[in-house]
């Protein structure tokens, strides 16, 4: 199993998992009614929220009406919201690139060689068990409160799911396909490139997607601690100025960019893994 992000931060992951496990089957996507069914709960919540505030059931400064949040978002947009989103996105991109690259290399080494696995895997499993926030003080001490500590924290978050996906992907390659490779007299390098890498790609992608979603979570953790820009900074700013609308606006944006980046990754995954023979691969 890949690193379970739920252990670290609860909220966003179950939704994504559900999205993957119950991905619509072809005939389901064709049904126009069912396709929009998922919009009912959020719309209901929005309407209820709006109603609750308008009717004075809850205080406006604790739960701003959805229309207030929207107004705040538009207001922020004119005051450089883009720089916040960009700052966070760049951090996630840098941290994810760093963590995923290292994880691809170590994961492949561990998955390809029993010796390397015996040597490294126990340590990585122990490191994986460390809660993300435990790294923060150390990173602050070592790297200061600038970008480096944030990017390293995000890289740590992205590392483990990718590492798990890559190592299990390379470890669990079908022996029968390997044998075909041997029959063709492929050397070790050609075997990795032509048989092992493509065979390991599905779990690698699962790892990359989990890693990316963890990168977003670790980004928030990093920015909550010290930042002058970014979505995490907006969250802190909203709390400090008692502006629940800003907090909610930041949360909405996090959901949006997280979903957007995951969808992009999923798109690449589906293109590259078109060959997979799964029960809903028909489209």
């Amino acid at each position: 199993m890949s690193a379970n992000p739920e252990i670290l931060f609860g909220a966003r992951v179950p939704e994504q998992h559900a999205d993957r496990v119950h991905a619509p089957t072809p005939e389901r996507t064709r049904s126009p009614v069912r396709r929009w069914l998922g919009l009912i709960p959020p719309l209901l919540v929005l309407v209820l929220g709006e109603l609750a505030v308008r009717q004075g059931w809850v205080s406006r400064n604790l739960l701003p009406a959805p229309s207030d949040v929207l107004r705040t978002l538009l207001e922020l947009a004119s005051q450089g919201l883009a720089t916040h989103v960009l700052a966070s996105t760049l951090r996630v991109a840098a941290g994810f690139a760093l963590g995923a690259t290292l994880a691809l290399m170590t994961g492949a080494a561990v998955g390809l060689s029993r010796q390397t696995e015996a040597l490294l895997d126990p340590s990585f499993q122990a490191l994986r068990a460390i809660p993300s926030l435990a790294w923060v003080p150390l990173l602050l001490l070592w790297l200061g409160i600038d970008e480096a500590s944030k990017i390293v924290l995000i890289a740590i978050g992205a590392f483990f799911p990718v590492y798990m996906g890559v190592s299990s992907g390379f470890r669990d390659i079908d022996r029968k396909l390997m044998e075909v490779g041997h029959m063709y007299g492929l050397g070790p390098l050609a075997l990795v490139r032509r048989v092992m890498f493509p065979a390991a790609l599905p779990p690698v992608f699962t790892g990359l997607r989990n890693g990316l979603s963890l990168a977003w979570m670790f980004m928030v953790a990093a920015e909550l601690i010290a930042a002058t820009k970014g979505l995490g900074y907006l969250l802190t700013d909203g709390r400090e100025t008692s502006r629940a609308d800003i907090v909610l606006a930041a949360i909405v944006l996090l959901a949006l960019v997280g979903k957007l980046s995951d969808s992009a990754m999923q798109h690449v995954e589906q293109r590259l893994l078109r060959w997979r023979d799964t029960h809903h691969s028909g489209h």
Binding site: L177, H182, M183, Y184, R194, P198, W275
Partner: protein, 245 residues
């Protein structure tokens, strides 16, 4: 030296267990030879040794009169399952033997697909094929490197009876067309008799050659030929003597 393949095995062990004892098999060019015997009699191991997939054994193999050890492009292997690479198209699977497809390899792919009755399937993915189609692609892939000897490990055991008969006919036709020598392992006595010039009956623990049943029937063969029924009875009683059944 008239044999295309001469296998001389002294012994083969898996750990402390001896799976093959002295065993000598010589196969003439263009001949079709089957290995039958109880499970665990070492027939698949024998085939894997010939294929060069199993290197830890005592003995030697001569290919065209030359001592040979390990993999050779002159020897092809068709597995029990198609074992196509799911991420490659049918054409790419066929041409897996060449790193870069050329005009010549593309033409050969077309020709072979045509021969196994799958013309136009070049761009299909393995998941889009039925079991029988996939195994036909596997046969075409086995032929792509133009081997002199094709080894088959229970090649049709995973398909239904009708598909199996069609594939057997296809294999016979292709083998004689390309002049390929076939050595196959099978559990199916009818298959062994229908396809082979000789059926080698192995005895287990440790595996060794017990009897050889010749099937002197000209091709193309009729499945209802009484001579095949006679040969079938001979193989059956040989298997009984070998304690396989």
């Amino acid at each position: 030296m008239t044999s295309v393949l001469e296998v001389n095995i002294q012994s083969k062990y898996f750990g402390a267990k001896q799976v093959l004892s002295p065993l000598r098999v010589a196969i003439a060019p263009g001949e079709v030879v089957s290995l039958v015997g109880a499970s665990g009699c070492g027939k698949s191991t024998f085939l894997r040794i010939v294929a060069g997939l199993e290197l830890d054994y005592a003995g030697n193999i001569q290919l065209n009169g030359q001592l040979h050890r390990g993999r050779s492009p002159a020897v092809g292997f068709i597995f029990q399952e198609p074992r196509l690479f799911p991420w490659l198209t049918v054409a790419q699977n066929l041409a897996f033997g060449v790193p870069q497809p050329s005009m010549a390899s593309k033409a050969l792919v077309r020709e072979l697909l045509d021969e196994v009755g799958l013309a136009g399937y070049e761009k299909s993915l393995p998941k889009e094929l039925s079991g029988g189609q996939a195994q036909r692609v596997a046969i075409a892939r086995g032929l792509f490197t133009k081997p002199r000897v094709l080894l088959l490990d229970e090649p049709f055991s995973a398909v239904d009876a009708f598909t199996r008969m069609k594939l057997q006919e296809l294999l016979t036709r292709i083998a004689s067309h390309h002049g390929i020598t076939l050595l196959l392992v099978t559990h199916d006595i009818d298959e062994a008799v229908y396809l082979s010039d000789r059926v080698l009956v192995l005895e287990a623990n440790p595996g060794t050659l017990r009897e050889v049943v010749a099937v002197p029937v000209a091709r193309p063969r009729e499945r209802t030929d009484p001579q095949l029924a006679t040969a079938r009875a001979q193989v059956l009683s040989a298997l009984q003597r070998a304690h396989a059944i």
